[in-house]
């Protein structure tokens, strides 16, 4: 088993921010400034395609969880993202995505295919990282929060990872994810944009429908793909707090 190595430490918006590696996977662990691991919930967050573990959407959500509830939050760079090298296959798929966009063709097929490939690599990396994080101390319940590519990685992860007890997903296609979603039974909150120009409404609704969870909530907002309202981050954090605190 790979252990977790802290490589840098700083203070970001009142949070303790610690860069780490597990094997060759880099990540970041955000914690309250006065940090005690003792039974405190841990939230794993998956970043979006083309971004990385310290993207502003990650630091913003982490701050809601750390400052608002005293939770710990961990994010790792997905394969080919952030500080990690791109393979020839990554370069080929990214070039194809850009070509598709430039041509005004639907990007769904390439995003679905490439994200499924990345997820097949990222799921074992996440499980290795979770092992290493939990070896650091006595964390409380574990949650997951990831939209877009964070959902493509998170759905197969939560489907096989019994230590994750609640999850926030959203904004993806059912094609490569519906079968894994059927295996998920923990409470979920799912975000969808009602007028998404990339993900057809019926596709988003079908993915939400696929989850096996007895407790699942769909939040669909008017607007295009990038218009997901900021108040949904507040909602996601409240959802995680409700489930992670109550199961402590």
């Amino acid at each position: 088993m790979h252990s977790l190595q802290f490589t840098a430490e700083s203070s970001v918006n009142g949070m303790l921010s610690r860069d780490f590696t597990v094997g060759d996977v880099p990540g970041v662990l955000w914690s309250p400034a006065v940090t005690t691991v003792d039974h405190t919930p841990l939230v794993l967050m998956g970043h979006g395609g083309g971004t990385h573990c310290k993207h502003p959407s990650m630091t913003g959500r982490a701050q809601l969880l750390v400052a608002g509830f005293g939770f710990h939050v961990a994010v790792i760079d997905a394969p080919g993202h952030g500080d990690r090298p791109r393979t020839a296959h990554d370069e080929k798929e990214i070039a194809e995505l850009f070509r598709t966009r430039a041509a005004g063709e639907p990007e769904g097929p390439i995003v679905v295919r490439y994200n499924a490939y990345l997820a097949s690599l990222a799921v074992p990396e996440w499980r290795m990282t979770l092992d290493a994080l939990l070896a650091l101390g006595d964390y409380g319940p574990v949650g997951y929060f990831g939209l877009n590519m964070g959902t493509a990685v998170g759905v197969p992860l939560v489907a096989v990872e019994p230590r994750i007890v609640a999850a926030v997903f959203g904004q993806h296609w059912p094609d490569a994810l519906a079968e894994a979603a059927k295996q998920i039974t923990v409470p979920i909150e799912f975000d969808l944009q009602w007028d998404d120009e990339h993900i057809p409404r019926e596709a988003g609704l079908a993915l939400f429908d696929a989850f096996g969870s007895e407790e699942k909530t769909l939040h669909a907002n008017a607007g295009r793909h990038k218009d997901l309202p900021r108040f949904e981050a507040d909602s996601a954090v409240r959802f995680l707090a409700r489930h992670l605190i109550r199961t402590t």
Copy 2:
């Protein structure tokens, strides 16, 4: 114009509760114990079919708004409900609803028809009541919150009432409401049960889709009609607070 007459006053769970009449319409106004009208938001709430203005679902939601945000909350009895007399037409429609349920037939057609009839009477009563309430003092922005029959009444009300600036609806069919919903442009939050045994999923989604609002949010939860989670009341109240306080 009918003025508002207070007929009784009591303290309920720390709220000032005042019964009133406007013409022959009875209602209740809940306020903070130390009450000042000065620019405080006012929320109108519509009760469900077969209930009345002081049903526990109304007092519970009122308390969230009054204790949580210091708002004023008004509810009136719908025609044929609560302390109001039933007409022969009411009796006939209610008997038909009970017959339908006992026979295990879909109740949608009768609920849609009877609620549309009640709404045609209730909308002018609500506008008269709002006139009388606003004549009492300098209230702030006005919101509306009503599910089930409260949506059947509320959608045509909000469509014609420019003084209502945000609304929470849910759990109804589009048949009699979609045209009015298209006229509504204020922010809305809409609740739907994903496994509703009375309202087909496509029907609920079609009503949400019909709203003309640029800002609209659908909350769909797994479960049957009566299983709407209690946390959706908290969400509705946060939604109203966000819009009524920001527009003060």
